[in-house]
């Protein structure tokens, strides 16, 4: 009879559970997490309820002396809370309630009568980390995939399930601030040093099973051993602190020292966020409340602030970007017929070498070709330096660096091009040179080989006009510096084949890029949006706003790089090229792309002020100089072309909105004209490629949150002064007319 009941109970409880299961290994309960609906585990409603159910069963079972918490997913412990769960909430009170539920659950774990060991392999982020640090002991694999962190701040949130309260105790105030304010990922070995995990386990190679599977098993074996050891007091939960550590803790615990830390951190946050991001401020507030006023107050502050942050437009914008970025990192265009295994790059300049670097470190065989030995020598140096920086940061070993470099063949002839699967040209932006190169290449490359052009403005169909097989021609617009900028803008013409697109996307994804796919046209999407803003920036400079002031205005609006500095980074010559009426974009779009006087940029270029690359632009650049000073010669040029600033549109706020509205209007026009297929890619491209303020979430989200009507009326005011450069496009007008129309649902 009792057997029957046991059987019944066993079946019913286990059949209902899909995310969490457990088994007893001697007196250790091994709890396994595995969300069957996703590649990663998240703390969803389902996961949480099953977990509390399982914990309840374990705690009421007297035979269980300890527990191990482990994920069955390769490469993921718990990736965080379920964002949808937060998004589904309508009010900040609902979110606060969610946070409090999480706090309660983890508090139960923290006060567990039996020790719980978190066995971590793969990402342990956000709510996952908060869960792990509520456990009594943490053991993690040294796998490269094992990362710990609290990335909530990057979503405009804070660790809302006890994280702001537990972390400072665990890693100290400075460490906790660093983790929560930067949101950076911490590798396992660093986590051990910080005191975030107790023990490390080496990842295993293949044995009688695949490596990853066996590594998880091994982690479990070790964790079970540790759990038993903790239960019978053979394994200590805390390490005896060294003298230095004790001393440091005492000093950090002193009132004035703590106050100093709060002050320094707050000042730093203010300086970096310009007050545009509320989350870091709230994080500091929660930590401070917990440390100064105790647990109860700390938990309350955490839950309430979490609720408040979740409904801010900043958080919505950042979450939108996160979700958009996830979409743009997926291959939406299928598998190409032939995988690209050998890549050839033409031009070993900044771009060419940068593309080579992000290709060879993913194992792509890459040829880097230039016309002169000096060119490839410089290019190879750039690649070496890029990789060596990683060695210095210990992200690579010197051996791995050398092995990666063996994938690169730098040369001045076309040897090996006959077996290339894809050629990316990064030669000078001149249609005649591009045509010459294209013809030369097509004579050598095999029929299946794709020809991609890394141009920032020349229409791909014009380049493809010289091709014998336009279906194999595509645009791949990388951003400088290639190893740092995540965006890749892929441009298709109406002749580009689907397979060519699939190939380009798969190469881009391999290179680790976030990809937007846009239609063909002068400047495509990104350059086209940037050009009118730069033209406006030149006008602002002419109207007497100095480069430093212009930078301050733009950065305080949320741009990570000021407009004047951006012009220097892009290159004054390039800016002239794209923004002046006699060049490509101006020719195509006419007076709408006007603004500042063309002669300003031209004169600067004539004087050799081409921006950072030439050492002088709006600013003067020197080696080792931290503070850049304004280039007085450039100021003189501006003086020569001085315009008077119309007072009705020249307040700081007006100047900011003049710059931004031209950017935004052009972006919306791109969507209207079909250059963009959706607003998500528009936002991602603007933020990741051009540094549009992340707190605004991109031009489209900006229109949604700022209000199309408000924007249109503002533009009309500018239009009265400057004319058609500020005429709102039809799609923007439509949105202004009907407030229910939104780009993002």
């Amino acid at each position: 009879m009792s057997d029957f009941f046991f059987f019944f109970f066993y079946c019913s409880s286990h059949q209902a559970r899909t995310h969490v299961s457990y088994e007893l290994k001697d007196d250790v309960a091994v709890i396994r997490l595995n969300d069957p609906t996703s590649k990663v585990n998240t703390l969803s409603v389902q996961m949480q309820s099953e977990l509390s159910e399982v914990m309840g069963e374990i705690w009421s079972n007297g035979a269980v002396k300890s527990a191990v918490l482990i994920s069955s997913k390769p490469g993921c412990f718990i990736a965080g809370a379920d964002i949808n769960m937060i998004q589904a909430c309508k009010t900040s009170e609902e979110v606060t309630h969610l946070s409090q539920e999480g706090q309660k659950m983890f508090e139960k774990i923290e006060k567990s009568p039996i020790p719980v060991v978190a066995a971590i392999n793969g990402s342990c982020l956000g709510g996952g980390l908060e869960f792990a640090i509520a456990c009594q002991y943490r053991v993690a694999t040294k796998s490269k995939k094992t990362i710990l962190g609290t990335p909530e701040v990057m979503l405009g949130l804070l660790p809302g399930a006890g994280g702001t309260q537990r972390l400072p105790k665990m890693v100290g105030l400075p460490g906790a601030f660093d983790m929560m304010l930067t949101g950076r990922n911490i590798r396992a070995d660093k986590a051990k040093k910080m005191g975030l995990v107790h023990q490390l386990v080496d990842p295993l190679g293949p044995g009688l099973k695949p490596a990853e599977e066996r590594t998880i098993e091994y982690l479990e074996e070790v964790a079970v051993g540790l759990a038993k050891g903790i239960a019978n007091k053979k394994v200590a939960l805390t390490k005896e602190k060294g003298l230095m550590q004790k001393l440091q803790d005492t000093v950090m615990g002193l009132g004035p020292v703590k106050q100093k830390i709060y002050k320094t951190v707050s000042e730093k946050v203010q300086k970096q966020t310009k007050g545009l991001y509320p989350a870091p401020v709230k994080i500091i507030e929660c930590i401070k409340t917990g440390v100064e006023q105790g647990r109860e107050a700390g938990y309350l502050a955490e839950a309430e602030n979490f609720g408040k942050l979740a409904v801010t437009p900043e958080s919505k914008a950042l979450i939108g970007l996160y979700q958009g970025q996830v979409i743009c990192k997926k291959n939406r265009f299928g598998t190409p017929e032939k995988e690209v295994k050998k890549l050839a790059i033409l031009g070993a300049g900044l771009m060419g070498a940068g593309i080579a670097q992000v290709s060879i470190d993913k194992g792509l065989n890459t040829i880097l070709k230039d016309t002169a030995v000096e060119g490839i020598s410089r290019g190879e140096d750039q690649v070496y330096k890029g990789l060596n920086t990683k060695v210095k940061k210990k992200a690579l070993t010197s051996f791995e660096r050398d092995a990666i470099l063996s994938n690169l063949s730098a040369q001045i002839d076309y040897t090996g091009f006959d077996s290339a699967d894809m050629v990316i040209e990064a030669v000078f932006e001149d249609i005649n040179i591009k045509h010459k190169v294209l013809k030369e290449i097509e004579a050598i490359i095999p029929p299946h080989c794709i020809f991609a052009s890394n141009t920032s403005a020349l229409p791909i169909k014009d380049i493809a006009a010289a091709s014998k097989r336009p279906e194999k021609v595509i645009g791949m617009h990388y951003f400088s510096p290639v190893d740092k900028m995540q965006l890749l803008e892929i441009i298709t013409t109406d002749k580009t084949s689907k397979d060519t697109l699939a190939s380009a996307v798969s190469v881009g994804l391999k290179q680790g890029k976030i990809i937007i796919v846009v239609g063909d046209g002068p400047g495509f999407y990104t350059t086209r949006c940037l050009a009118p803003m730069l033209a406006e920036a030149v006008r602002v400079l002419q109207e007497g706003t100095g480069p430093k002031k212009l930078d301050t205005l733009t950065t305080s609006f949320g741009f990570p790089v000021g407009a004047a500095t951006l012009a220097d980074e892009v290159g004054i010559d390039v800016a002239a090229h794209v923004s002046c009426s006699e060049f490509d974009l101006g020719k195509a779009f006419g007076s709408r792309f006007g603004g500042g006087n063309v002669e300003v940029l031209k004169t600067m270029v004539e004087n050799g002020f081409k921006g950072r690359k030439s050492g002088k632009g709006c600013f003067i650049y020197g080696k080792g100089k931290k503070e850049k000073s304004v280039n007085s010669d450039a100021e003189e040029i501006l003086q020569k072309y001085k315009l008077s600033a119309p007072p009705s549109v020249s307040s700081d706020s007006d100047i900011q909105h003049r710059l931004v509205s031209r950017f935004v209007n052009e972006a919306v026009l791109c969507l209207q004209e079909g250059i963009l297929t959706n607003p998500v890619e528009g936002d991602i491209g603007a933020v990741f490629g051009l540094g549009f303020p992340p707190c605004l979430g991109g031009p489209f989200r900006f229109v949604d949150s700022f209000g199309a009507e408000k924007l249109v009326s503002m533009m009309r005011r500018f239009e009265d002064v400057y004319g058609n450069q500020f005429t709102p496009c039809q799609l923007l007008l439509d949105h202004a007319k009907d407030p229910s129309k939104k780009f993002h649902k």
């Binding site: 386990v201 295993l204 293949p206 044995g207 009688l208 091994y218 070790v222 092995a403």
Partner: protein, 451 residues
Amino acid sequence: MASMLLNSMRTCPVIFEFSDVSVQTKSKKTLARPSVKNIVLVEGVRTPFLMSGTTYVSSFHWGLLHKTGIPKDAVDYIIYGTVIQEVKTSNVAREAALGAGFSDKIPAHTVTMACISSNQAMTSAVGMIAAGQCDAVVAGGVEFMSDVPIRHSRKMRKTMLSLNKAKTLGQRLGLIGSIRLAHLAPELPAVAEFSTAETMGHSADRLAAAFGVSRVEQDEFALRSHTLAKKAQDAGLLKDVISFKVPGRDIVSKDNGIRPSSMEQMAKLKPAFIKPHGTVTAANSSFLTDGASAVLIMSEEKALAMGYKPKAYLRDFVYVSQDPKDQLLLGPTYSTPKVLERAGLTMDDIDVFEFHEAFAGQIMANLKAMDSDWFAQTYMGRKSKVGTPPTEKFNLWGGSLSLGHPFGATGCRLVTTVAHRLQKEGGQYGLVAACAAGGQGHAMVIEAYPQ
């Protein structure tokens, strides 16, 4: 020490041993091929293997012995294997040969291939004889872990080299002034992989864990190795060992690392590499060892013409290599099926197995890998597993775990042991297999010489 061996090579004590050859059914009666020269092992000797630091040997005993065995010009060539090289004797083979009084007309070169260096020396010899370049080659290996070259730090070396080039006193003083305390820290030769920076013990522990080899299994295998070695030593089976005199000390005539213990004693040891949950300990690993070994390899014709009775034929051999990180020590798994295939034999045909025991965990992992169809299919591109050697044929006179493992010298010991065991046990085919740093491996088939 090496020269002493070379010397005994020249004296060449040929020992005859007869035993009943039991009749077995083999896939092949012999591996002799009509168009291929028969190459034979005439003799194999070694010094006692000594735990590093127990008997301090300061240098090779150049010219220690002067007896003349074979005619001076009978040996055509000398090849030695070594791993950690002394800068002053980078071609240790030549120095040893000269020191031992071999004719200075006999060329010599040194090879290195980690733990299979002397295997490489032997197979190079086989190659030279097969190609008709030589008829008699001495191959060997030597390792002195008690006296490894310890270098100045890279910074110090750089300063010292610049000092050589400095022209003025000012420059020199400037360079000397730049020396900091950190410059003076010496650099020990690492037993770590260059490509992965992982020590071999660490990799062995991970390998054992990957194949689910328990601590008890490892301790049991290590205990077996020590017990069998002790038995073989006591029974006088280790006839390849020759005594030598350490100046100022007693004559050394026995391997001194053989120490059968108990499972209880071994269980007490803490893991040596992965702490605290690792399984590889000092007791179930091979230890740092000093020692040298040598073999005389000849074409059968020449050996017979000179009146020698060969011990065995050296037949097919292979070298393999694989991932130096996760499969560092799986050489035997990869090389065994390959060499058997080459020779046209099966596991059942082999009577004597001698595998290099780097770590008990490594041997157990190899045995499990060889017994896994999944592993054979997934990683070796084979249809099915090769199978495991039967225990009753495997390393019966001890192995590197108990006898010791002078990196460069183990290969010759393995081959000589197979020859001796074939004579003693009466089998026909023997198999040597070994792993080596760099993720490399080796295997050789040896055929008994008709008695």
